[in-house]
C-alpha cells in the first residue's frame, strides 16, 4: 500500500567481507577441482566441435527441375525471379537477390544449380530444447488444471470422487514414470489411435502422449499439494464466505483457491522443475526432446561429455528461468 518502503539496513554479521571471501574461495576450489578432474581423465576435449549443435550455416542450392534456357531474371528488392523456358514448359524460381549463379540465355539441364547461398539453421540441441520447452509448458498448464480438479475432488465429501482421486494419486505417484510413459504410448495410445481411426481421424503424434503422461504424473503430485493448500486455509474463511450467501463454488473460486494457490507456489515450482527434467524420459517413445537430441548429437560427434554438459546447462536455463518466474509471481502476490 502506497510508499511505505522503509528500507531497513540489512543486518550484516561481523566479518561480513571475510565470509564473502570464504564463499568465493569455496566456489573457486570446487570449480578448480572439477576442472582438474576433467583434465585427468583420458579424454580429448573438443569444445570447438560443439557449436554446430546449436546453430550452423547450411549450404542451400536451388536447382532446376527441367531442361531449357534461362529466359529471364527479374531482379527484385530481396528476391530475384529466375524463369526457365523448356520445350513445352516453363518454371519460375525465387532466389535471394545476390545468390543467382546463372545469366539470361544460359542453357540449363535438370539438376543444374541456379542459385546458391548459405542460411543459418538451428542445430540439434536447439531443436530438442524447443520441443522440451513446448512439452513442459503444455504439461505444466494441464498439470495445474488436473491438480486443482484433483485437489477439490480429494477433499470432496462424495466418496466416488474422493476414492477415485486417492487411487489415481497413489498409483501414479507410486509407480515409475518410465512405465507410465510406455503405457500411455503403447497401450492407451494404441486404443486411442484405433478409436480415432474408426472416426476417420488421423493418429495422434507421440508428442501428445508424452504431454499426457507428464501432465497426469505431475497432476498427481499437484493434487496433493493443492489439497494441502486448501486445507491450510483457516476454516473461518469458508465460514465467512458461506455466511454471506456464497455457494461452495463461489467461495472456492473467490476466497479459498486464491489464498491457497499463493501459499502452494513454492512446492508447485519444485514440482514443475521436476517435470522439466522428467521430460528427458520421453526419448523412449521417439520424441526428439533435448536429451534424445543430445544422444543423437553424441552418436554423430563422438563427444559425449561436451554435448551432455551443454545439455545439462540448457536444462538449467529452463529450470532457473522457471524458478525466477515463480519468485517474481510470489513477490507480486505478497506485495500488493
Amino acid at each position: 500500500m502506497g510508499k511505505s518502503e522503509n528500507k531497513q539496513p540489512t543486518l550484516r554479521p561481523a566479518n561480513y567481507n571475510l565470509w564473502v571471501g570464504v564463499f568465493c574461495v569455496i566456489i573457486l576450489i570446487v570449480a578448480g577441482a572439477f576442472y582438474y578432474a576433467t583434465q585427468k581423465i583420458s579424454y580429448v576435449w573438443r569444445w570447438n566441435r560443439v557449436p554446430i549443435y546449436f546453430a550452423y550455416k547450411d549450404d542451400i542450392h536451388i536447382t532446376s527441375e527441367i531442361d531449357g534456357d534461362v529466359e529471364s531474371i527479374t531482379p527484385g528488392d530481396k528476391e530475384s525471379i529466375i524463369t526457365i523456358k523448356g520445350l513445352s514448359e516453363s518454371e519460375s524460381y525465387n532466389a535471394p537477390a545476390d545468390s543467382v549463379d546463372v545469366e539470361e540465355g544460359d542453357m540449363i539441364f535438370i539438376g543444374d544449380t541456379l542459385a546458391s547461398y548459405q542460411e543459418w539453421k538451428p542445430g540439434l540441441l536447439i531443436i530438442g530444447l524447443w520441443i522440451t520447452l513446448q512439452i513442459s509448458v503444455i504439461a505444466t498448464i494441464l498439470g495445474v488444471i488436473i491438480g486443482i480438479i484433483g485437489g477439490l475432488a480429494r477433499i470432496s465429501s462424495n466418496p466416488a470422487l474422493r476414492w477415485t482421486t486417492i487411487i489415481y494419486v497413489e498409483i501414479v505417484r507410486g509407480s515409475p514414470l518410465m512405465v507410465q510413459i510406455l503405457i500411455w504410448y503403447f497401450v492407451l495410445g494404441t486404443v486411442i489411435n484405433e478409436i480415432l481411426a474408426a472416426y476417420g481421424l488421423g493418429r495422434l503424434p507421440a508428442f501428445w502422449y508424452g504431454v499426457a503422461s507428464l501432465a497426469f504424473f505431475a497432476g498427481a503430485y499437484v493434487t496433493e499439494i493443492v489439497r494441502g493448500g486448501i486445507q491450510s486455509i483457516h476454516r473461518g474463511q469458508t465460514e465467512a464466505a458461506r455466511s454471506l450467501g456464497m455457494s461452495y463454488g463461489q467461495s472456492m473460486l473467490h476466497i479459498i483457491l486464491p489464498q491457497a494457490l499463493r501459499r502452494i507456489l513454492p512446492p508447485l515450482a519444485g514440482q514443475f522443475i521436476s517435470l522439466i527434467k522428467d521430460s528427458s524420459l520421453l526419448g523412449m517413445i521417439a520424441i526428439r526432446e533435448l536429451t534424445k537430441a543430445a544422444r543423437e548429437a553424441v552418436t554423430v560427434s563422438l563427444q559425449p561429455f561436451e554435448v551432455f554438459f551443454l545439455t545439462a546447462a540448457l536444462y538449467l536455463v529452463l529450470t532457473f528461468t522457471l524458478s525466477m518466474l515463480v519468485q517474481r509471481l510470489e513477490k507480486r502476490m505478497t506485495i500488493q
Partner: protein, 243 residues
C-alpha cells in the same frame, strides 16, 4: 422473524458433547437479543445453527418463515439475508477492505460495479473506515477489522444480524468503537442476535437477555430483570463471576 423450535445438537469430539438440548426461542423483527453464558454453554453453537453453519440434529428453525433445516431450502439464499460477524473477524486477507465489502454484493446479489461501489462507500463511511478503503485487512487494527466485517455483512442488506462474540478478540481500548457501531445498528431497528459478555452493552440496547448453560436456555428476561433479580442460582453465579 426467527422461530427456533426444540433444536438439539450433539458433537462427537470424540466423546459425546451435548451442545444444545431442546432449545426454543422466538425473536421478533427489530428485537435485540443478547445471548450469554459460561464458556461451553452452547451459545455459539446456537447462533451458528441459525444460519446452518452448524446443522442442528433435530427440531425446526424458521427464519422469516423459511425452514432452515429443510434440505430443499436454498441455504445460500437464507444466508444472504442473515449477516454474521465472527469473533476472529475472518476478513479475506487477499482482498482490500473495499473488495471485502464489495465482493459478495457482486457475486451473490449480482449488483453492478457502480451499485456495489456506492453501497460499499456508504457502509465504510458508516463504520468510519472510509479512508482505509484500499488497505489490506492485515494493516488494520482489530477494532477496524471488526468494523469492516460488520460493513461486509451489512452490504447484503440482511434482515437479521448475528454477532458471535464480536469484541472478545479485541484489545480493551478497541471494544468501544465496535460496540458504538453495533449500538447505532440497534437504534436503526436492525434485528440482532448477539453472543456477548459485554454487560454494559446488553443493559443499554438489549430488549431481552438469554442465559444459557450446559446447552439449554436457563433464563430469559429483560435486562433489568436479568441484572437485578435473576431467579436461577446458575444465573446469579455467572453474573457474580463476570460483573
Amino acid at each position: 422473524m426467527i422461530d427456533v423450535q426444540n433444536i438439539y445438537k450433539t458433537f462427537w469430539v470424540p466423546d459425546e458433547v451435548r451442545a444444545l438440548v431442546d432449545v426454543s426461542t422466538k425473536i421478533e423483527a427489530g428485537e435485540v437479543v443478547i445471548v450469554c453464558g459460561p464458556s461451553g454453554s452452547g451459545k455459539s453453537t446456537y447462533l451458528r445453527c441459525l444460519n446452518r453453519l452448524e446443522k442442528a440434529d433435530s427440531g425446526h428453525i424458521f427464519i422469516d418463515g423459511i425452514d432452515v433445516l429443510d434440505p430443499k431450502t436454498n441455504i445460500n439464499k437464507v444466508r444472504a439475508e442473515v449477516g454474521m460477524v465472527f469473533q476472529s473477524f475472518n476478513l479475506f486477507p487477499h482482498k482490500t477492505v473495499f473488495d471485502n465489502v464489495a465482493l459478495a454484493q457482486k457475486v451473490v446479489r449480482k449488483r453492478s460495479k457502480a451499485e456495489a461501489r456506492e453501497k460499499t462507500d456508504f457502509l465504510l463511511k458508516k463504520v468510519g473506515i472510509h479512508d482505509k478503503s484500499n488497505a489490506h485487512p492485515d494493516n488494520l487494527s482489530g477494532g477496524q477489522q471488526q468494523r469492516v466485517a460488520i460493513a461486509r455483512a451489512l452490504a447484503m442488506d440482511p434482515k437479521v444480524m448475528l454477532f458471535d462474540e464480536p469484541t472478545s478478540a479485541l484489545d480493551p481500548e478497541m471494544i468501544g468503537e465496535v460496540l458504538d457501531v453495533m449500538k447505532n445498528l440497534a437504534k436503526e431497528g436492525m434485528t440482532m442476535v448477539c453472543v456477548s459478555h459485554e454487560m454494559g452493552f446488553a443493559r443499554e440496547v438489549a430488549d431481552r437477555v438469554i442465559f444459557m448453560d450446559e446447552g439449554a436456555i436457563v433464563e430469559v428476561g429483560s435486562p433489568e430483570h436479568f441484572f437485578k433479580n435473576p431467579t436461577h442460582e446458575r444465573t446469579k453465579l455467572f453474573l457474580s463471576q463476570i460483573l
